[in-house]
């Protein structure tokens, strides 16, 4: 658990990069801090591993003040992924990944085993990628090596600063899915910074919206869409297609009812948005839903539309 308690960071005497922010990140959750550039989101994140020291306030990690350990030792326990990946250009992929284990004094055999394990986890064939230099890798591969490097010493916490910013839009979606899967599998606690509200909604269990150093709202995505706490949050959401954003948060298995339906079935893992789109496109009132190849019921268009409405608060 990361507890940020009334933290302020001043630059000079007056400029408050971060202004009295408190928030708690529960273990195993993925929290996204979203805001425009200059909103203090990166500064807030960098105070967690003390790349920036707070001017006032405290940050506790699993109950302990993060100033109890010397900075470098603290940072070795917290994974860190930065914008543009920041791989060491003079080291191979394997050496990059083994950075923190080496700093922690793991022996060679253990490091090598961990490197291979991580490369496989990120769908990179170890024998092919181990000895490549960063400049010999594609953007997506570099990004995966960057995340693998952050996870190398099995940290319980992971900080990510715009980790997908440098990626081609075509592979960004895949990279986000990979991150979600790995987060679920390792149940690492993740704090991710982005300027992209869509990314925040896709990834976050909870979203913290920041503006000019202040925390405007800290809530799950559905809550943010339904009840934006300020005009600015509403603006970030883009106004027009909130109904579809709402639908994209849920999967169809929650709305399955009994009864027959015609036509090709939809998967129970499909998002409500995709299912509604299919219903409208094929002109059907009800669609069959399948799970593991078997039809488990149907979903109706009216029910989907009801779910797109703003929840009563």
């Amino acid at each position: 658990m990361i507890e940020i308690d009334a933290v302020t960071r001043l630059y000079g005497h007056r400029v408050k990069a971060v202004d009295n922010v408190s928030l708690t990140v529960e273990n195993g959750r993925l929290v996204v801090i979203v805001g425009a550039s200059g909103s203090g989101k990166t500064t807030l994140m960098r105070m967690i591993n003390r790349l920036v020291e707070p001017s006032s306030g405290t940050i506790r990690i699993d109950g302990c003040d993060n100033r109890e350990l010397p900075g470098p030792e603290l940072r070795r326990r917290i994974g860190y992924v930065i914008q543009e990946h920041g791989l060491f250009p003079h080291r191979t992929a394997a050496e990059n990944i083994a950075t923190v284990p080496k700093l922690l004094g793991w022996n060679r055999k253990r490091r090598d085993a961990r490197v291979d394990e991580l490369l496989s986890l990120f769908h990179l064939e170890p024998s092919r990628f181990r000895d490549r230099m960063p400049h010999e890798l594609s953007g997506g591969e570099q990004q995966r090596i960057g995340v693998a490097r952050a996870l190398a010493a099995k940290p319980a916490f992971l900080l990510m600063d715009e980790p997908f910013g440098a990626l081609d839009p075509s592979i960004r979606g895949r990279a986000r899915e990979d991150l979600l899967e790995i987060q679920r599998r390792l149940s690492t606690t993740v704090v991710l910074v982005t300027h992209d509200m869509d990314e925040a909604i896709v990834l976050g269990h909870k979203i913290a919206v920041m503006r000019e150093g202040r925390l405007l709202q800290y809530a799950p995505p559905a809550e943010i869409i339904a009840n934006p706490a300020a005009d600015f949050v509403d603006e970030l959401l883009g106004g027009d297609d909130k109904a579809f954003r709402m639908l994209s948060l849920d999967t169809v298995d929650r709305l399955v009812e009994n009864g027959p339906a015609h036509g090709s079935p939809v998967s129970c893992n499909a998002s409500l948005k995709d299912v509604l789109a299919e219903a409208l496109w094929s002109g059907r009132d009800t669609l069959p839903v399948e799970k593991d190849g078997a039809i488990i019921g149907r979903v109706s268009r009216d029910c989907l539309i009801r779910h797109a409405a703003r929840p009563a608060s």
């Binding site: 470098p72 940072r75 326990r77 060491f88 950075t99 923190v100």
Partner: protein, 403 residues
Amino acid sequence: MRISARPANKPRFGIALDKLGMIVAAIVLSGLFLQPFSLFRASRIMTARGIMIWAAMPLWQALMVMAALIAACLLLLLRPPVTLRLGVNVAAMTLLAVMVGRSGYYLMPADNPYARISPGSGFWIMVFAFAFAMADAVVRKQLSPLKRIGLLIIGACAIGLLFYSGAWRQLSILKEYDNHSAAFWREGRAHILLAFGSLAAATMMGIPIGILCFRVPLVRATILGSLNVLQTIPSIALFGLLIAPLAWVGRNVPGAAALGIAGIGFAPAIVALFAYSLLPVISNTVAGLDSVSRDTRDAARGMGMTGGQRLTQVEFPLAFPIILTGIRIVLVQNIGLTVIAALIGAGGYGTFVFQGITQMATDLVLLGVMPVVSLAFAAAIILDALVEISGTGGKKRGGHDRD
């Protein structure tokens, strides 16, 4: 796989003449027909008389050499494959080097042991033209750094062979060498000691100072500013400026004189060379460290490296090729500057240069200049190769086992 930067270097045969070949051919032909191949002097300080190639050796030899050189020019005009071009140039230069030695034997009168035969402007012009074409071929061949060093060693061995075989014995420079052979090696040692000693001292002090400059902006402005001023002082003036303070130190500090510290000689020379060396080493260290990207540095910190670990594991290795470039500049510069050091009695090959000038003996000047040029040339090639190895080839596949 490392991506090779080598472009497909396909030779194109055709009627189109090679532009560089045309220039080289024009220079060679003018050297061959318009300039003297050898110079004859009745004694070491008499005025030289030029001797054209057909008079500098038996006529049949001259005709064969001329035919060979013209053939080489024609070949170069036709833009042959790079390897063949390299071979033609090497062969032409070897032929010239051997024949200039032969002409020494041919022209040396039996009744005048004081006569001097030396290579004439025609010889130098032709060697220059072929060396130019060879340098071009070497660049086009994109030889790997180690192969370039190998080529340098082969060249040095070839010159050594000509030197020791006696092929050049009748040439005037070799006669000067015979008269000064003990001094030649002694001054050579002094020259190398001055040039490399000052470089070593500057490297050992300059890199830590550079790191300090990089970390502390105030120090950076002060040090780089004052060294910039120092660099503008002409070398001869700096040697002169150091005479008074070092003479004072030599007289007044106990034990200093015993260490050889005095107003003239080795001490002021090495101090001045050291001072000149410092700026390139420091500024390249700063530039190298500056070149490490912010992301890389931030990542190193975020991974939990301490300041020292960041420096030794990330910043310094990435800055190293640029630092080495600074060392290369210093070494080549020092080898040349050390010539001036002879003026204040520090020794080195400059001794022959200045002796030769006062005695109006060109051959003695050449005896000092040739080794300096060769040393600077060799140093430049070797260090360029090292810079390339450290920058790109330093980390090859399988570098994983380097801990």
